[in-house]
């Protein structure tokens, strides 16, 4: 599958169906992007599990840190990888030993690993790379528009009233909106440059 761009239906389906999310690389520091995303997704009703071997014994927003994916002890629907590309393959290899397998592996903004993606997809696992679930959730619910961000969606339908901790507003009916082709081109070029030098 093409990982340069994803259609809204693919992302919406993932965000609508996963419930348990293990975040590898979750940071306890409240100025780190992983903390922002962890908190946001927890507030939207996802069952969040922080994975960070250096923090075991502590907890993040009331959820105890777990040392590794194998030690979660219950099924996870999605693994959100908050580690740079060179750490991805070992995490994916562990993910592929889980039983049941996760439905989705999501790699954060700036993280892309085509080889790992191919391996996951061969096992029937959906992959999202170089995206942020917080941004995508905010975009599809149009909540991100409050910050002046181009949600790339349009809708003539009344959105369900967003209520704290509820996930209603993600089900807004929408079609594609204004494109960000220039930014997308730069992102693709950067990825190409990275692969060429690697």
């Amino acid at each position: 599958m093409n990982h340069d761009s994803y259609n809204d239906a693919y992302i919406r389906e993932i965000l609508n169906t996963v419930k348990t999310v293990a975040m590898v690389g979750a940071s306890p520091q409240n100025v780190r992007p992983s903390y922002f995303v962890f908190k946001y997704l927890a507030e939207r009703g996802y069952d969040m599990i922080p994975i960070n071997p250096g923090q075991v014994g502590k907890s993040l927003l009331g959820k105890p840190f777990v040392a590794s994916l194998q030690e979660i002890g219950r099924p996870v629907d999605m693994i959100d990888i908050f580690r740079s590309a060179e750490h991805v393959m070992p995490i994916v290899d562990i993910a592929l030993t889980l039983d049941p397998l996760p439905k989705v592996v999501w790699m954060q903004l700036g993280v892309r690993h085509d080889e790992a993606a191919a391996k996951l997809e061969a096992a029937g696992i959906k992959v999202v790379m170089n995206r942020c679930p917080k941004i995508e959730y905010g975009r599809l619910s149009s909540e991100i528009q409050w910050m002046g961000v181009n949600s790339r969606t349009l809708s003539s339908k009344r959105a369900p009233i967003p209520t704290q901790g509820m996930r209603l507003s993600l089900n807004r009916s929408s079609l594609g909106g204004g494109s960000t082709a220039a930014a997308d081109r730069v992102a693709q070029q950067n990825n190409k440059d990275k692969n060429d030098t690697a």
Binding site: N2, S5, Y6, N7, D8, A9, N30, V31, P33, Y35, F36, K39, Y40, E43, L109, G110, C132, I135, G138, S142, E143, I144, Q145, W146, M147, G148, V149, N150, S151, R152, L154, S155, S156, K157, R158, A159, P160, I161, P162, Q164, S169, R172, L175, G176, G177, G178, S179, T180, A181, A182, A183, R185, V186, A187, N190
Partner: protein, 426 residues
């Protein structure tokens, strides 16, 4: 794989707006409120810490203004936008994110007179130093680059003379220098020119002009193209380094390809304060719904008026890039194929006095210091908008003493031509 991308006219009407979730109101409500309640202390803390999307106080975000912001971002093809109180405020906020005292930026000599003043005088008091370059000689931008250069600023269609800048050529200079290209797209609007498609990293507008379009509201906007890497070479510490105001957040790392727009909002607008009124945002976004219709009509009328003027015996010269003998015509056809906009200048054989008398004899054209109204407007720049420049700078920016500037409105072109005819013959 991609969702269908709607056309410009559809985005102009719909982007950013949706029926109000609470009331079902189809037009965007005017959220005329200073502040927004928090759900609880934790919600407040997440909003102040930038961890959640949401509204705190109208100086920082407002749901009516947000519709305008997303609409202009979508029309320009940017990742995000920030609306502010005026075009000048937009420029101030942009440069405050990019420049430290002692830094330089390169600007085109052919700019709106107010921008020349802002850059030469107000910015100097912040230690931001402008270096001028000639848009008709792109290598002059390259020659002006030093290790202190932090940005390049041009107008797509320049005010007042309507000349067209070779955006792609200047963008290549900016890329080579490793600095962002800022394009003031006020006179073109994204309907005629989309600077981001030609390499702009940041687009600014005076919304006061064609975007609002009805001469009733001041406003400005900053669009982030999402194309510039702010972390390279530590040249833009505001975006790449931990922010003490936000307990050490790094903006580019956190907000990715819309970090510049966020910096403008949570540092620039929050701390400098030039917020747009939600009521103005409402009027401006209502104006934008008809932008494609108005802009085409403005351009078509301007071309008809320019052609008529160039055949008139009392007219010495007409500077409209939409005319085939104009020196910018090739650039106009490349960058603005739908039309060359509504603002242009012409000079009269009778010089300064003839210009002054023309302005006072017109009955339909309004004599005032603005452009981009539905109404046709006229001004003598040398004695008004450009009066604070010295004679050489006036001539260089296309506002010599014999020059009259028109902003052609959307009235019937026959009536505009008849008004000019009676005024020239009076």
């Amino acid at each position: 794989m991609n969702d269908r991308i709607p056309g410009f006219g559809t985005l102009a009407v719909h982007a950013g707006a949706q029926p109000d979730p609470t009331t079902g109101a189809r037009a965007t409500p005017i959220y005329q409120t200073t502040s927004f309640v928090f759900n609880d202390a934790d919600h407040a803390a997440s909003l102040f810490g930038l961890q959640s999307f949401g509204n705190i106080y109208t100086r920082i975000t407002n749901p009516t203004t947000a519709v305008l912001e997303e609409r202009v971002a979508a029309l320009e093809g940017g990742t995000a936008a920030l609306a502010v109180a005026s075009g000048h405020a937009a420029q101030l906020v942009v440069f405050q994110q990019l420049l430290q005292p002692g830094d330089e930026f390169i600007a085109s000599r052919k700019l709106y007179g107010g921008s020349i003043n802002q850059f030469s005088h107000a910015f100097k008091s912040f230690g931001w130093n402008v270096v001028w370059a000639d848009p008709d000689d792109v290598p002059s931008f390259e020659r002006a680059v030093t290790d202190k250069t932090k940005a390049i600023f041009i107008e797509s269609i320049a005010n007042p003379a309507g000349s067209i800048t070779d955006i792609e050529a200047v963008a290549a200079v900016a890329r080579k220098a490793g600095v962002p290209l800022i394009v003031d797209n006020t006179l073109a609007t994204p309907y005629l020119i989309k600077p981001i498609d030609h390499g702009a990293d940041i687009v600014v507008h005076s919304l006061t002009k064609f975007l609002g379009g009805h001469g009733n509201s001041l406003g400005g906007i900053i669009v982030d193209a999402g194309t510039f890497d702010w972390s390279k070479g530590n040249k833009y510490p505001v975006l790449s380094e931990p922010r003490p105001e936000y307990h050490g957040i790094k903006l580019q790392e956190t907000f990715g390809n819309f970090a510049f727009a966020i910096a403008c909002r949570v540092l620039g607008l929050r701390d400098l304060g030039p917020a747009l009124s939600p009521f103005n945002a409402f009027l401006i976004q209502t104006g934008i719904e008809t932008l494609p219709l108005r802009m085409q009509r403005h351009s078509d009328n301007a071309k008809a008026v320019a052609e008529w003027l160039s055949a008139h015996p009392k007219v010495a010269a007409v500077n409209y890039s939409g005319l085939s003998d104009n020196r910018y015509h090739t650039l106009a056809r490349k960058y603005a194929p739908k039309g060359a906009g509504a603002v242009f200048t012409f000079s009269l054989k009778g010089g300064y006095d003839a210009g002054v008398s023309l302005v006072s004899n017109l009955k339909l054209f309004s004599h005032l210091a603005n452009v981009g109204d539905t109404r046709s407007l006229v001004i003598h720049p040398a004695s008004t908008t450009h009066s604070q420049l010295d004679d050489e700078a006036k001539t260089r920016s296309g506002a010599g003493p014999d020059v009259v500037r028109l902003s052609v409105g959307i009235e019937d072109k026959e009536d505009l031509i008849a008004d000019l005819e009676q005024a020239l013959n009076a």
